[in-house]
Symmetry: C2
Subunit: 117 residues, 2 copies
DNA sequence: CATGTCCCCATAGACGATCGACCGGAGCAA
DNA sequence: TTGCTCCGGTCGATCGTCTATGGGGACATG
């Protein structure tokens, strides 16, 4: 039986990781909700899923913390859209958050695969 | 300024990962709560923290799902202790969970570090 | 116009996992 | 006795996510 490696991972495991992904997505420049979600899903080769009900609370949360800032604009499809851009604090937060993510992964992997050290 | 890589990561990010760590810890054989927590912390070089208030609910949860089974015994310090062992279903769950963890890490890293592919 | 469809933002209620702070008991030593 | 350590357990609060639902504006169709 093939290991069925196709089905996507929703937020079940990426608790707290969505913020990180959003911040990273905004590095190249401002984007609105749909684009952010699409980019995360696409760049993860559809392994990651971003639900609307998680995305917008996350965006508001990040804005409240001063890591992103928003402004109204017009989307590529001529729709009113709220764009988000990374703030200076957000860039710093992204760096910190990324290094914590790396440390976490490393630590979990050490538990999962007992090294011979 | 040195990057202060000393402070531990508590459950802020390892939502849903604790189950995985516990299951893996039980592979060599049965263990009781204190030992499980100690092993996770030690094997992660004290990067991971396992709080009592998270550990026992997790153990009960895993037992309810049939992934671990428990029995009363006596600890190395001659204290009454509840030992947990991996069930067959738990071993299967560990394999599945581990592969999902790997897929998640891979996916997040793809978003964090846009590959050139 | 009327209708439908897509795009986009937003919120509400429920849920599940974790956290910090407790508590009780039993072994052991001073 | 007192006090410390080991061990299990629970409670309330908090936080992030999910499913479901809503609305409004742009655009195409007939």
């Amino acid at each position: 039986m093939p290991p069925r490696d196709g089905h996507p991972l929703s937020g079940e495991m990426l608790q707290g990781t969505l913020d990180l992904l959003i911040l990273q997505t905004l590095v190249p420049g401002p984007a609105h909700g749909h684009t952010i979600a699409y980019n995360i899903e696409h760049r993860s080769k559809d392994v990651l899923q971003v639900e609307h009900g998680s995305l917008y609370p996350a965006l508001h949360r990040l804005e409240n913390r001063g890591w992103i800032a928003s402004f109204w604009g017009t989307s590529e499809n001529n729709r009113k859209a709220r764009y988000y851009r990374l703030t200076t604090a957000g860039r710093q937060q992204l760096a910190d958050h990324t290094s914590r993510w790396d440390r976490l992964v490393e630590a979990v992997n050490r538990v999962l695969r007992p090294a011979e050290d």
